[in-house]
């Protein structure tokens, strides 16, 4: 195998730290949910914030996007986030259904 020119410092230690933080965040999520610390809406918000933090760690470090050039980071992430956020437009309709009294 030919070696790929590394443009950043690849230390195993930082990946072990990221892995440990991911496990810790998972434990926090499970503790929050299992003990039903929050009401459903706040629970969802808390879990989503934790999931986004975990995503940043996985995409940035494990998938190495942190070490790519700015153009790649911005184009990839803005594109997918924009498309995902566009899906949110339907949530207002979901909440409205509850007011319609449909059985």
């Amino acid at each position: 195998m030919h070696t790929v020119g590394a443009v950043h410092d690849d230390s195993k230690a930082q990946y072990l730290w990221v892995w440990a933080v991911l496990l810790l965040l998972t434990a926090v999520e499970v503790a929050l949910a299992y003990n039903q610390v929050f009401q459903p809406v706040q629970m969802l918000e808390a879990l989503m914030v934790l999931s986004v933090i975990k995503s940043v760690l996985i995409i940035g470090w494990f998938m190495h996007l942190k070490y790519e050039i700015a153009a790649m980071k911005w184009v990839m992430m803005v594109a997918v986030c924009a498309c995902l956020c566009l899906m949110c437009v339907f949530f207002a309709d979901a909440a409205r259904i509850l007011q319609l009294g449909v059985r």
């Binding site: 690849d10 998938m63 949110c88």
Partner: protein
């Protein structure tokens, strides 16, 4: 191979990549973006149904949550071993590249087995894609659950086969067949594994076509790209786990 910007004195040839990296990696990233929209659509559809239905069941008791947490640990650990495989490939260590990929496959297979067992328990309790025993007015609970987790499990299975091809190449083909045969002939006909294992047959055919029609030595680039796919599979689970499992816990008073 235009892995780096090379000038051959002819305008337009081998122009530097817009994203500053090799084409295969950009191709995989673009595929992952499209796949994330697929999962995003499924998760949004699930969330829409959940929000608009106040009677959504919450059946996941302690054993289910414990199982799902172990599955999450398996996937996170598999991401770590995959990163270590990529590092080994970069420094040219073929043995440890293969070994770390095999560890990744082991964790991935553990995830699949645990998840299929979870499915078996839920099916035994009476859950199908069209009905569930906890809320008769919410028939879509089963459909959304099996679709979301089934789609993800399929991606994990494809990922394990993909990694096996990269790590072992043609030596992996008899291994896939052996696993298929063992699972198919040693599980009862109504078992989830008995039906689901046929995915391995499809994987065997596709892998054989690739390995015989386009034989090549998979290099560090290929390991890195397979790693991107694997981390994506882990990333999707980071959203499915809280939205499907943690938001539906049944905690006994």
């Amino acid at each position: 191979m235009a892995d780096v910007a090379v000038s051959h004195g002819v305008a337009g040839e081998f122009e530097p990549s817009l994203f500053g990296t090799y084409s295969k990696k950009i191709g995989m990233w673009l595929f992952l973006l499209s796949d994330s929209l697929t999962f995003g659509a499924l998760l949004f559809a699930y969330s829409y149904g959940r929000i608009s239905n106040p009677d959504w069941p919450t059946p996941f008791h302690k054993e289910s949550i414990t199982n799902a947490t172990i599955m999450t640990g398996c996937l996170l650990s598999s991401s770590l071993t995959m990163v270590l495989a990529v590092l080994a490939a970069r420094r040219g260590d073929r043995s440890w590249t293969r070994n770390w990929i095999l560890f990744t496959m082991l964790f991935g297979s553990g995830f699949i087995v645990l998840h299929a067992m979870e499915w078996s328990h839920l099916i035994a309790e009476g859950m199908t894609p069209f009905k569930n025993p906890w809320a008769a007015t919410v028939p879509q609970f089963g459909g959304t659950f099996f679709t979301l987790t089934g789609m993800h499990m399929l991606h994990v299975t494809i990922g394990v086969i993909y990694l096996g091809v990269v790590a072992l190449r043609k030596k992996f083909l008899p291994i896939i067949l052996a696993i298929w045969a063992i699972v198919f002939f040693m599980t009862p006909a109504d078992n989830v594994f008995h039906t689901g294992v046929h995915v391995l047959l499809v994987g065997f055919v596709v892998a054989a076509m690739i390995l015989f029609l386009k034989p090549k030595d998979y290099d560090a680039h290929d390991v890195e790209i397979s790693g991107l796919y694997w981390h994506f599979v882990d990333l999707v689970w980071m959203f499915i786990f809280p939205l499907v499992y943690l938001m539906s816990t049944r905690v006994q008073g």
